[in-house]
Symmetry: C2
Subunit: 619 residues, 2 copies
């Protein structure tokens, strides 16, 4: 008898909360004059039951490491996110009504400028793979008690990244992850591909290794039961909830043409009248039990030093291994090429903190974003060319204010025989154009190691570009390479006639060129701009001043967006450097296969071409 | 009895061909000293049966529109590709042995510099979605008899894009498509996720709407039967072939550590001895029946003209519709946002040539690449921010020498309330760094329409960036906007003191600024650089000369890689323009939500900020 009453009370609470979430979703979006109320209404019951019955979260302490994680992969349901925060007492009604206004924390799509939001969403298909990362981190190395809940839209299951996420969840047996799919049948411009074919959804997620629970997403008891089962399951669960877009308001329910459209004030009045009275209540949310994450060792990092030629990708792997030995918070992810990127060196040192992501670059970057949410220090690697696969995830990681580290190996034509599909020639452009990013491009082992060590504590998105081929060691192992700096490796006096600015593999071509030109009495300054962003503007300006603006930039990258553009922008922004006499040696034609040296020559970026360019400028 | 003999003869042919393919895969990779022989050996039987028994292809006439299409999605099996071409008589043995050498057509991964290759592969997970595009085009609008065969690796099924492809194949019922998955259990660095779990593969592809046929990939009769069933099926088929990596050579079979590794000459001798004699034969391949594609109408394009403010995205859609009415070869794809990108205007005109790709940007771009293979003229659109999702596909489209046209709407902070997840702020950088690309950014309707019309006949990858908000009409509908050009919209005399270079939405801010500055007697030249790539270097140099290098660049894009970098690179490359006095107004901080005008102001790229920058330079 008591149980029945308790259950009835619980369902009443859910019902009241769901009504309030609907009311507030409409109120805030109508006040904003834009937003996605109907996509919020379809999921209001799902979120009400989760918040009041299943989530373990201390809204007064969003940094509690024991808190569950709730990600709205369908970030456009932001009215529901903010209505939920208001119902939990995290924000007040005044703030709720600032939705989408300049300066408000309540942006059009949720971002972590709100402390209760882990990551930015709004580019569909990203929340679930990020949730996989949080769940992986919770399983190992943290051993955390938290559960990860991800609210997905049905439209976004068209994104392959969602299936990468289901695949990894199933493969890793992430029982601490629950995907809640709000199958409201309608996308932006009309019906989704599968509409309400719940059997098709269930077959797919089961085939990918998850438990599937199909429910009526507006039946509070069914939802309640599904969440209990999901938290207790031994496998990851996908709750497939058949819902109605615009649910609760007759003129919105299951209607096309209402996606991303706010109600006008008169429509809102009608809608609120239909929904009924909803006094502004704060609902109790269960707090998690006490739990502290394991203490992360953080000792001094013993980097290897190099005297013999070594590939910077190898130095990357060995520096990762040293970091892994010294620090317990460093984790490494790789997209099934760890024997090429040399992330495998870390795996040998700290296998429990190495994550094989198979050939799923989007999931790899998303998992890195998820892992940094819970305080880990992720490094993720693949061939630099294949990081282009994850560009949307990298872009969104910046919106998430995430701290992740990416390593791209096999950059440029100098990889040789494998040909253009494997040659990153746009990665510098891509990574420079990420907000707040750091872009590093070492030319040899000692430098690479020192840069990798610094990446561990670098905010934002940092990227290191590594080279397939071995390169000679040119720096003393004790040399320091601060991010933002550069090195003068040839010349450096006031009599330098031309400056060569380069980084990575072509530093060695520039050195050969400078040495050859010295025999012709042409003094050349070679600048190793190992930090492509932020580039060392002071060193560039000084070089321009000394040489009368005679600058040759050499890079194993397309003409656009790389070192050349970075150099010109830095000099122009700085100003006062006089007129430039500029030559840009970069890749201008589609390369083919060949030996590394042949391809550097064919692209016009080897020592011989540098010599010719310098001679021309020095005339 | 005759049938039994015929069957035996057929199987003998397959066996001989398979042996020759294995022998030649080893010979050419050993000669090259690199490559992927073991990944070729696992699929040799699959390709032998296809080539000698099922493919309908005229190797003497690779442009025959009736030819089947065969794509090696696992492009690293290039030794097998080239061995196949030799067996078909398309190339000779001398050329086979140029594999991976400088200047050879036989690159490390196949590219369309060989006339028998439709598209470049080597970035995994792309061949199948491209095959979907070819199959879609074959189904409609071409009504072609060809069949599309795609050889996939098992490792690459970890890529979400493969599931986007299966999803679209199933949804569209592409019975003219067969995926052949070479399940050889071993990836680059070890076992794949699913190894030989054929049931898991079968469950997955069936759940995505395909027929699945599980076979022993070395049983020639089973393969033969599977191909017959696949060609005759009413749905798309996935043939899941359990194979052994390195099959046929005892010391390679199912061994780790042999991925991407050529045999040395001694190992090759042993391997060839095991495989047995294989006289160099040319095998007959069945030619397709005669078929000509429907004649494509190509009449004059009647573009709409504009006198009232219109969003360039709307002008894009209406220009597409005009193109669609005039030309039968234009096809349009959109990622479920056609009411935002306005691709829906084309759909209303030519629904049979409109392809709804749902929210699967990778599949969308891949399908566009596939459609241009068979002579169609694809335009593909989504929010510009979400084209980042497909960057690897765009990069590879350039390696494929593909002609595709991309449209990204909702660029920049000027979209307003939706916030940074929806704002493309890196698209110009991303698209400039694509080999041979064209990057267009119109500021108003008449200009947008004229540019869209030109894109139809533009080689390479062309990109148009459109704006969410309506913008005033500033050009006469009769004005022409040649690609590579620019327009001077204010000033233009020898007395201009400062030049403002901009494009798109900020052209209107620059005009307001110039008009305000005119009242202060500061003559300003405003250049509308509607072609960001190739940018109008002559006009920029002339402006620099006239103004003494006083240039302000304004753009609704991150600081890096966009119009500013393009302007500086053009001026530096041109040379002789004297010293620059440069101000760059671009987005430097992460934007939030707000009204478009508020966000332009907050980013420092509105008229007021332009006025301030010009005043400073004019001092």
């Amino acid at each position: 008898m008591a149980t029945v009453t308790e259950a009835a009370t619980r369902l009443d609470t859910y019902r009241d909360l769901a009504r309030q979430l609907r009311v507030d979703s409409i109120r805030c979006s109508t006040a904003a004059g834009s937003g996605h109320p109907t996509s919020s209404l379809s999921a209001a019951d799902l979120i009400a039951v989760l918040l009041a019955g299943h989530l373990r979260y201390d809204f007064a302490n969003p940094r509690d490491p024991a808190n569950d994680h709730l990600i709205f992969s369908k970030g456009h349901a932001s009215p529901l996110v903010y209505a939920m925060l208001r119902a939990a007492g995290a924000i007040d009604d005044d703030e709720l009504l600032t939705f989408r206004k300049l300066g408000s924390r309540l942006e059009g799509h949720p971002t972590p400028i709100l402390p209760w939001i882990d990551v930015a969403t709004g580019s569909l298909g990203q929340g679930l793979p990020i949730g996989v990362g949080i769940a992986l981190a919770g399983k190992r190395p943290l051993g955390a008690p938290y559960h990860v809940w991800v609210l997905c839209g049905d439209s976004e299951t068209a994104e392959g990244s969602v299936w990468e996420a289901f695949d990894h969840a199933g493969h890793e047996g992430l029982s601490n992850l629950t995907a809640i799919v709000d199958v409201n049948r309608l996308g932006q411009r009309g019906p989704t591909e599968l509409e309400w074919n719940m059997d098709a959804y269930a077959a797919r997620v089961r085939a990918f290794g998850l438990d599937a629970i199909v429910i009526d997403g507006h039946d509070l008891a069914e939802i309640d039961d599904a969440y209990s089962r999901a938290r207790g399951a031994e496998r990851p669960t996908a709750i497939l909830a058949k819902t109605v877009k615009g649910k609760g308001v007759s003129f919105l329910e299951n209607k096309e043409g209402w996606h991303g459209r706010a109600l006008d004030p008169e429509q809102a009045r009608q809608a609120l009248a239909e929904l009924g009275q909803s006094p502004a209540r704060t609902f109790a949310v269960t707090r998690p039990g006490r739990w502290e994450p394991p203490v992360m060792r953080k000792g001094p990092v013993a980097l290897k030093t190099y005297a013999e030629p070594v590939a910077t990708r190898k130095a990357y792997g060995e520096a990762l291994a040293a970091l892994g030995a010294a620090r317990g918070d460093v984790v490494v992810l790789d997209a099934e090429v760890s024997n090429s990127t040399h992330a495998e060196d870390f795996k040998k040192t700290a296998p429990e903190r190495f994550f094989e992501m198979y050939i799923a670059e989007q999931q790899m970057v998303a998992a890195a974003v998820g892992m940094q949410v819970v305080g880990l220090v992720p490094f993720a690697s693949t061939f630099a060319a294949f990081l282009t696969r994850a560009y949307d995830f990298i872009r969104m990681a910046a919106v998430s204010r995430a701290r992740i580290r990416l390593s791209g190996s096999h950059a440029g034509v100098s990889i040789g025989e494998d040909g253009p599909s494997q040659m990153a020639l746009e990665d510098l452009a891509m990574m420079r154009a990420v907000h707040g990013s750091t872009v590093l491009y070492p030319c040899e082992g000692n430098q690479a190691a020192k840069l990798v060590a610094q990446m561990a504590d670098r905010p934002g998105i940092s990227y290191i570009r590594t080279t397939r081929e071995k390169t000679p060691v040119i720096y003393d192992p004790r040399a320091e390479f601060p991010i933002g700096g550069s090195k003068v490796v040839r010349g450096g006096s006031g009599t330098d006639r031309v400056a060569i600015v380069t980084a990575g593999i072509t530093v060695h071509e520039a050195i050969k060129a400078a040495d050859a030109l010295a025999n012709e009495n042409i003094a050349v300054r070679v600048i190793d701009a190992y930090t492509v962003k932020p580039i060392d503007a002071a060193a560039l300006a000084e070089a321009a001043r000394v040489t009368g603006g005679r600058i040759v930039v050499v890079e194993d990258h397309w003409v656009e967006g790389g070192i050349g553009d970075a150099v010109l922008a830095a000099l122009a922004e700085k100003g006062g450097v006089g007129e430039l006499r500029y030559r840009h040696l970069a890749v201008r034609e589609m390369p083919g296969s060949g030996k590394p040296a042949e391809l550097l020559a064919a692209a016009g970026i080897d020592a011989a071409h540098i010599v010719a360019a310098v001679r021309e400028l020095a005339r």
